[in-house]
Symmetry: D2
Subunit: 345 residues, 4 copies
Amino acid sequence: MSPNATEEDVAAVVARVEGVGGEAFVSKGVVRTIIGLVGDLESFHHLNLRTLRGVADVHRISDPYKLVSRQHHPDRSTVWVGPAGRQVPIGPDSFTFLAGPCAVETPEQTLAAAQMAKGAGATILRGGAYKPRTSPYAFQGLGVRGLEILADVGRATGLPVVTEVVDARDVAVVAEHADMLQVGTRNMANFGLLQAVGEAGKPVLLKRGMTATIEEWLMAAEYIAQRGNLDVVLCERGIRTFEPATRNTLDISAVPVVQATSHLPVIVDPSHAAGRKDLVVPLSRAAIAVGADGIIVDVHPEPETALCDGPQALLGADLRELAQAVRRLPSAVGRVDAGELSRTA
Amino acid sequence: MSPNATEEDVAAVVARVEGVGGEAFVSKGVVRTIIGLVGDLESFHHLNLRTLRGVADVHRISDPYKLVSRQHHPDRSTVWVGPAGRQVPIGPDSFTFLAGPCAVETPEQTLAAAQMAKGAGATILRGGAYKPRTSPYAFQGLGVRGLEILADVGRATGLPVVTEVVDARDVAVVAEHADMLQVGTRNMANFGLLQAVGEAGKPVLLKRGMTATIEEWLMAAEYIAQRGNLDVVLCERGIRTFEPATRNTLDISAVPVVQATSHLPVIVDPSHAAGRKDLVVPLSRAAIAVGADGIIVDVHPEPETALCDGPQALLGADLRELAQAVRRLPSAVGRVDAGELSRTA
Amino acid sequence: MSPNATEEDVAAVVARVEGVGGEAFVSKGVVRTIIGLVGDLESFHHLNLRTLRGVADVHRISDPYKLVSRQHHPDRSTVWVGPAGRQVPIGPDSFTFLAGPCAVETPEQTLAAAQMAKGAGATILRGGAYKPRTSPYAFQGLGVRGLEILADVGRATGLPVVTEVVDARDVAVVAEHADMLQVGTRNMANFGLLQAVGEAGKPVLLKRGMTATIEEWLMAAEYIAQRGNLDVVLCERGIRTFEPATRNTLDISAVPVVQATSHLPVIVDPSHAAGRKDLVVPLSRAAIAVGADGIIVDVHPEPETALCDGPQALLGADLRELAQAVRRLPSAVGRVDAGELSRTA
Amino acid sequence: MSPNATEEDVAAVVARVEGVGGEAFVSKGVVRTIIGLVGDLESFHHLNLRTLRGVADVHRISDPYKLVSRQHHPDRSTVWVGPAGRQVPIGPDSFTFLAGPCAVETPEQTLAAAQMAKGAGATILRGGAYKPRTSPYAFQGLGVRGLEILADVGRATGLPVVTEVVDARDVAVVAEHADMLQVGTRNMANFGLLQAVGEAGKPVLLKRGMTATIEEWLMAAEYIAQRGNLDVVLCERGIRTFEPATRNTLDISAVPVVQATSHLPVIVDPSHAAGRKDLVVPLSRAAIAVGADGIIVDVHPEPETALCDGPQALLGADLRELAQAVRRLPSAVGRVDAGELSRTA
């Protein structure tokens, strides 16, 4: 309460809180009075306490998410990706390497990239059929044809596939072809899309909004969970800051912060965070060491002709260096390669 | 090019640029060579120059938007909102005041808010039927019922109405009831939605993404324009920064920056930028003085019971002070009230 | 407290708070306990409550500054600048226009700029003798020779002068020549310098750190006040954000936020915020309209040869437009020109 | 150049560039002309090209720093810290662990912390005698008495010591007692201090300003180098972003970015970045894995009574876990412990 709040002002706040079934504890100091609210957070949503006379400020103390919180679900979860018979885990015991081309361009390019990915140790294939692009004049993806190519290549290589869905109207067709649905950074707060993927019956890879706080990101996961789907994997991919040397600033601390707060698995995308090929390997090593449950990386057989994000795609020596890090480092932090834990038929 | 780039590296860049019909001018210094590219920006999208050997960095010099740029359309545009017979302008000669409740809750509340808005000088009514909320447990709006209430109140008060659409699947029904479609800050990069409103045949109010650069915001407008709709009004509503005293930081400079670059009208939303009632009047005055083409403000007959953003809604003395500013200040910067310029039957 | 905190954990916190003379009010909920602390904030500095078992988080509710707060000093202050006989006010009743060259280069350039400033309505002259520059290879200012030129020009034109001091070792010599000492954005957290200017016996112009929160800025003012100098004028000059269109983002909301919290005057520097000449006039109008107590603007007789920040310096038609705004707009928001309130002998 | 720039405008730019001995290459397109400048960057400082008619924008392509750049110094440097006979390296071949209390409080506390640090594998002792604090009411350090305690403890344990200097007037006395001078995050742009430590004859630990770009940070190092001191170690300690879960956001990418650009060693401070004890170990692992040349960590024998930053100080099980990571991980990325490379008499 403000220093000049009256007894009546305090009483009005208490009455309003009690009116929705909450409890209000008054702590009266010489200069200032603090009122502690206890009760069901949902019932407090429309209290509008800031509009009451004498109220200086309102701070929320407890977390606003429930289903994705560790509070009532202390054990960290494992999400299984892929059709029965070849399911790959993402979770606290394993380390999962997802790789593939930013965009599906042709069957040949996709197959070549998938083979590169698999050769480097990847156990899940990523590839984009719908590409949200800042410019309406940039390549927007192959759509359904891209989904078909990706599914074919997934079957040919034995890798489950994850691909982005950018519009709630496309969720059904994407869920038909893919093993995991990705919600991209620009759509993290597209609540209609979150609800649609929550009902699609497939695991979801939820990228962090490039300007979302960790709490907002977990609230987005809560939207999916609320529709009955708890198979959500979070993906840190860099946040927008003032630093221009990298496309975004990889918030590596988000990994342990999320793991302390939520039971959901969390992986890292070093390719999109940095936007620069030369940073992908060191940032992947950092992600493994910090305790991420996996990484997702762009690979492309010919980056210089890629229709999307060529400058960050790995191949050749860089990819070999990454493969080596993925093989060796996880065991140094107590992890097993996801391939070894896969549920094969 | 990097200092150690070879003649062959330079030649490879030149060849690639010329291969898509562009021109490449080579500026050779003692330490470093710079290559200036000239040509159609669209054809340069997939050059992937950063992947070529010897390339140190690539800077784009020209603007990536076309239809919304002042370059080929030097005169600033006016957008007319409302049905034939009572159209209100938003543009360079007038100052337009949009006001109404954050959310449509009941017919009575909406009518009361509309009358408050009109009494204070507003000529366009805003009100939300679909509310994108960070929490899935918060009030999400009345949907179609809200649209009907808003349309009724608009007819009753003679005010054209603007309301937000959050899902491409709802664009048709919203366009049926509203005179102007709002795309909210969280959906500024929802490209499917942008394309859908671009085809809906109604003017669009495009809020700036809270973490979007001005260039990205204009690219979002370009998505709408590209579908044939140039009746786009931009709305600055605060950006995310490190400062916690306000909900977002109103980027007041964005108004003259946009006006120098684009022909589209631009207005300011001081309510959502600040999130605090006590800042709405001073920020509205600043918006008028900086040269904005209008403002959009939350009003509510009973903020303490509002289902959405009560703490920022105006009423009483604050609203009278705002009404006074809206009446007096625009003329001090060479503007006429939009009401006087309305095209009435 | 965390959900799993025990009775002992709660008791330990209470004991520690009471140990330094504070009071601790315990609010016990079903899931979570909140402890409200009341007492002298200073005595709480070393409690380290976050290190205690069971403590989930600690939020400070009251303001950490005292001398600069409006809490015990509700009337807003006026600071008088200049020698006895020609003192100019900066405060709530007036509007003060400060102008001059970014850097003092020669007697002729400084005099010409001062005459331009005075002709446009400025009543205080600014000019830099010590320039903190990002590059060690850039012009660093004329030092003492610059102070002498500035003082001469101030006397010749009858304008009090303000100039920046960048090093605690220079405070005495700067205070000898100038009527007001400026602490620049890069030195806002240079606590040794703040203490030195706090003891120099001259009013201080304290620029906001380009990445400082409003609270940190007020704490910097508290450092000066604590040394006995309450003649501090705050200056908002833009904060660092992700937006590249302007050099910094002018946080126009900071003006009313500061005025609600602190009794100190607050002015705006639109030149350094924008870094672009074409934005100076609209942003100055916005600053007047939002209720700033003054503005400080770069002018230069020949911007194209300026040794510092030429691109943002005004002259000619722009300066005339600014002069007109400064003459007319303040009265529209209830202000009188500072020149009319000056205490002349 | 702007699309409407004339031939004369272009010629004026070229003339001005050539006037200071530079070369200007003109690339003329259908819509737009680009002028590439080649020459000595220093001579371009006062060209003020943005003030010339027809100039749309100016982009700098080359790096503004020289002495700290890898361009003319491709091999990465090693900085040796400590008196002859027990010098510890920080550089590309080793991994150096610096630890100690945030603030020197008493001889006993400092010795206990130093022994903890040494026991965990640290080879350099850190400890603060001068503490820059946001609040003038917070503990500001013991000053010279703190320097004496630190030096004593350094001798007793055989560890070289690093301590912060916050005022140019204190550089001499700090250099007398310490083996390495630290410039803190708030003083990164205190150019007088940078020049003073550049002349002090001791290695410098330069923390990144919490809101400085990597380029500005390297320019700060250039200030030191320009005074003849190339023994500068950079320290990434988190940047200010919108994310509130951590005190600052550790910019882990800055490590490989700096190493690609500058020959100076770069270490990481996970304690100050996170401000939370539970993140120090995972972030230290990430720092090692990303390729940092060292880490600097807060340890304290009794964090709950610490006078400064207690919540982030390690002890007990956390410190043992960190010690283990420091022992094992560096070899996984090709590094040797700095202790093994020390130059002992």
